[in-house]
């Protein structure tokens, strides 16, 4: 392996990818002409790259319109069909009704309805705080009667002046 320490070790890799500045590239080019170790390393990297490209192309030969295309088109057709069916509101409604999810939706709806009814009924039982508190009544009052309505629980103050 490379023993030359004239350049940082990744410079040859970057040089290969044309990722050095112009100045650095020129300097390294000159160095490569004089240093067999660095030249050998560059050559090794290039061979590796060619080897990998060759390996990939051997494993993945140019593909023809074969099974992949047919399988894809089949899937796409069914997808298109599904999309078209979704665009019709009537069809969508029918699918919803016919679908198994309908029962689940209905059960959820019924549960929500039941719970909200129970909640509202409980709410009615709660005695709300008074809207006003009468501490005293000024004036000449002969008698006072405090009444409460049955349903709404409104308080009515009835008094008789002297």
């Amino acid at each position: 392996m490379k023993k030359c320490n004239a350049y940082p070790p990744d410079n040859i890799s970057r040089f290969m990818d044309n990722n050095l500045s112009k100045k650095e590239t020129l300097k390294l080019k000159k160095h490569l002409a004089a240093c067999p170790e660095c030249r050998q390393l560059l050559n090794r990297y290039q061979r590796l790259e060619h080897g990998v490209i060759h390996m990939v192309h051997q494993q993945v030969p140019p593909m023809k319109a074969t099974t992949l295309e047919h399988a894809l088109l089949k899937k796409i057709r069914s997808e298109n069909q599904r999309r078209r069916s979704l665009t019709s509101p009537f069809k969508r409604f029918m699918d919803f009704i016919q679908g198994k999810k309908f029962y689940l939706q209905m059960a959820s709806f019924a549960a929500i309805l039941l719970l909200s009814t129970m909640f509202l009924r409980d709410q009615e039982k709660v005695i709300r705080a008074p809207s006003a508190i009468v501490n005293s009544i000024d004036g000449n009052v002969a008698s006072v009667m405090i009444l409460e309505t049955r349903e709404q629980r409104h308080t009515i103050i009835w008094y008789k002046e002297t």
């Binding site: 070790p9 590796l48 990998v52 490209i53 990939v56 993945v60 593909m63």
Partner: protein, 198 residues
């Protein structure tokens, strides 16, 4: 109609995208024919598994079909599809499946003699030619042994010839990271091959 679409669309990506958005089957056929080999090369380079790569490429095309209406065309079809391919390859479910596969199967397939014969290499002597062939035989194992993150960068650079900037954008990493991963990949492969040679 199909033939007409084929000829025009092969030349003009924008038209192809337009037809894809219209849901034309012929346009999709062109897309598959034009890009499947390139996408397969990327997928295979990362996964090193033919069946899985086929599955990934199929998923990529389905994803394109599903999302083409939202595609604005700013980056180009190949850039978009390359990104989807890499994401699919690095998907954790697939990664685990692959690890399991590799664990249960030897990495070196039974290849006929000379199957790894090298093109494009210019040997300096018959001896170095012999060494290169030997190295090639082991290359797949060595590439497979690279960490996936490093292999992905190496394959995108080697197979697709992408710039450091393009890779950094694609993988959402810094260009410095791209550079160091490439160096790491090359160094590891070179050292491993040298070790096997000696």
């Amino acid at each position: 109609m199909t033939a007409k679409v084929t000829n025009i669309a092969a030349r003009d990506e924008k038209e192809l995208i337009k037809w894809l958005k219209q849901g034309r089957e012929s346009a999709f056929r062109i897309l598959v024919n034009q890009y499947q080999s390139r996408l397969m090369a990327i997928a295979w380079g990362i996964t090193l598994d033919h069946e899985e790569s086929l599955e990934i490429v199929q998923d990529v095309f389905l994803s394109v079909h599903k999302n083409i209406t939202g595609f604005r065309g700013e980056a180009g079809l190949m850039t978009w599809m390359r990104k989807i391919t890499v994401n699919h390859c690095l998907n954790w479910k697939r990664r685990w499946k692959r690890r399991f596969k590799w664990y249960h199967r030897p990495l070196t397939p039974e290849e006929p003699p000379g199957a790894w014969n090298v093109h494009g290499l210019q040997p300096e002597s018959p001896e170095s030619d012999y060494l290169n062939r030997e190295q090639e035989k082991n290359l797949m194992d060595l590439v497979a042994a690279l960490p996936e993150k490093i292999r992905t960068v190496f394959i995108l650079k080697t197979v697709e010839g992408l710039s450091y900037e393009a890779i950094s954008k694609l993988l959402n990493i810094k260009t410095g990271t791209v550079s160091s991963r490439l160096y790491h990949a090359r160094k590891s492969l070179a050292v491993a091959l040298e070790r096997e040679d000696s």
